[in-house]
Amino acid sequence: MAHLSINCRSKVLGMPVMLDVLMPQRKGNYKVLYLLHGAGGDHTTWLYKSRIADYMEKTDIAVIMPSGNNRFYVNNEHGKKYFTYITEELPKMCEEIFNISCDAKDRFIAGMSMGGYGAFYAALKCPGMYAGAFSYSGALDIGAMYERLSKKDMFAVFGTRQQLDEGDYDLKKLVNKQGANDVDKFTEFNIACGEEDALLPYNREFYDYMKCAGYNVTYEESPGGHDSEYWDKQVEKTVERIKLW
């Protein structure tokens, strides 16, 4: 297995970025898992806090770990265009450079906490782009997060509460009101949350919401908290599932 620590320019963000990639040393055309970190983390978090390198080692799955800079993976009201970076520039660049599959059926996105929100935001805003989206302890009720977290930080990302409500940041807004069509159902959404996690009610609620809208969505509650031990177990399961996809 090869580990690439990459420094490159993002035109979308207008700055150099760091990227960590885990690449199998096999025949190429790998499935790809975009793995998003949580608040306070960066491109190193998944490597330091989980055994992801071990899990993907003998598979045909490449893992791409960008930095989200605490910006919730959305195009910020008072900041840079992270959504465009994550869903347009980054995959395009990786598919041009690396011997990875360019097929949506081989493309997956996952994350914990802020990264879980980011993964679902990307998958819901880009129907048909990811075969699977995985949220671990996701911050799936962004309105609730807006109230819980620092006002200054939330303002930079989402603007005022009114701007958050009027925009499409709320995942419920991105869920197809006419009911999930074939393209919406292309993506399998997976929600996982620890039983001791404070975000549990939001996860349950959002699962119900997606299920009622007819999406392809699974839900799992298991013992665990909002911590790397839980996320490590989840990403291991995700890799096992992607292997068989």
Binding site: L4, G28, I97
Partner: protein, 261 residues
């Protein structure tokens, strides 16, 4: 884009470090690839620290791959791991499989190196002439011509670990031996020789070894397209290798965009 890569080598039997530099704008075609070999006591970082390589990559539009072969002199060691097979064959296979934007064609792959890496790039290019179409050897002498005192000193022991204690003119560690073998293949099997660009500073302590090597290639001009460059005022130094890198890039047609546009 600069990638620091850590990957596993089956031939060396451990994780190895490699730097890959790509231009910020990829363009539509696969990139030509320049393999850059470090000197003794060097690694996969020194070309980055001591030259403007990243700027050259962006100005001239190519991929640079810089392996780290520790103190192996780029050979399958006499006592030690097979660094030569790693760097000449295994690593290109891994890099070409990993990067779809880098060309794996012989005509698009070149090796350059200085000092031990100058010897190393000639060694690899002569052994794997089917994979590389040009070699840029800077401050490069044939190890076969180095004075070897088999006196039990650390230096002599290291030499034995690398090459054994024999006369390298007679075995695969000698550049003229490898060149002679390639010439045989050219005559009998239609093999192709790499273009050889060889350079040395006038103040280099090993200038005499470079001259011996130069004379061999001049004698065998029939088989090798060979150029020799000397810069009088410079020695065994980065200022020299930076200049020669640029001359080599020009030689293989990787011109700076200001020239071509």
């Amino acid at each position: 884009m600069v990638s620091t890569i850590n990957l596993f080598s089956v031939y060396v039997k451990q994780n190895m470090d490699v730097t890959v530099v790509l231009p910020d704008d990829l363009g539509d075609e696969k990139l030509k690839c320049v393999w850059l070999y470090h000197g003794g006591s060097g690694d996969h970082t020194e070309w980055l620290y001591h030259t403007n390589l990243v700027d050259y990559v962006n100005e001239r539009h190519f991929a640079a791959v810089i392996p780290n072969v520790h103190e192996s002199c780029f050979v399958d060691m006499h006592i030690g791991p097979k660094y030569g097979t790693y760097v000449g064959r295994e690593l290109p296979n891994l890099i070409h499989t990993m990067f779809r934007c880098i060309s794996d064609k012989r005509e698009d792959n070149y090796i350059a190196g200085f000092s031990n890496g100058g010897y190393g790039c000639l060694n690899v290019a002569l052994k794997y002439a089917d994979r590389y179409s040009a070699v840029g050897a800077f401050s490069a002498g044939d190890k076969a011509d180095a004075i070897f005192d088999n006196d039990g000193s650390p230096k002599s022991l290291h030499r034995i670990n690398l090459f054994g204690d024999g006369d390298l003119h007679q075995n695969k560690y000698g550049l003229t031996y490898l060149a002679d073998r390639l010439i045989e293949k050219i005559k009998t099997q239609g093999a192709e020789a790499p273009i050889v660009y060889h350079a040395c500073g006038g103040k280099d302590p090993w200038l005499w070894m470079n001259h011996i090597l130069r004379d061999y290639f001049l004698e065998h001009r029939e088989y090798f397209v060979y150029t020799y460059d000397e810069i009088e005022e410079l020695g065994h130094e980065w200022k020299f290798w930076d200049i020669e890198l640029i001359r080599f890039l020009d030689k293989v047609g990787l011109f700076s965009k200001e020239v071509t546009s």
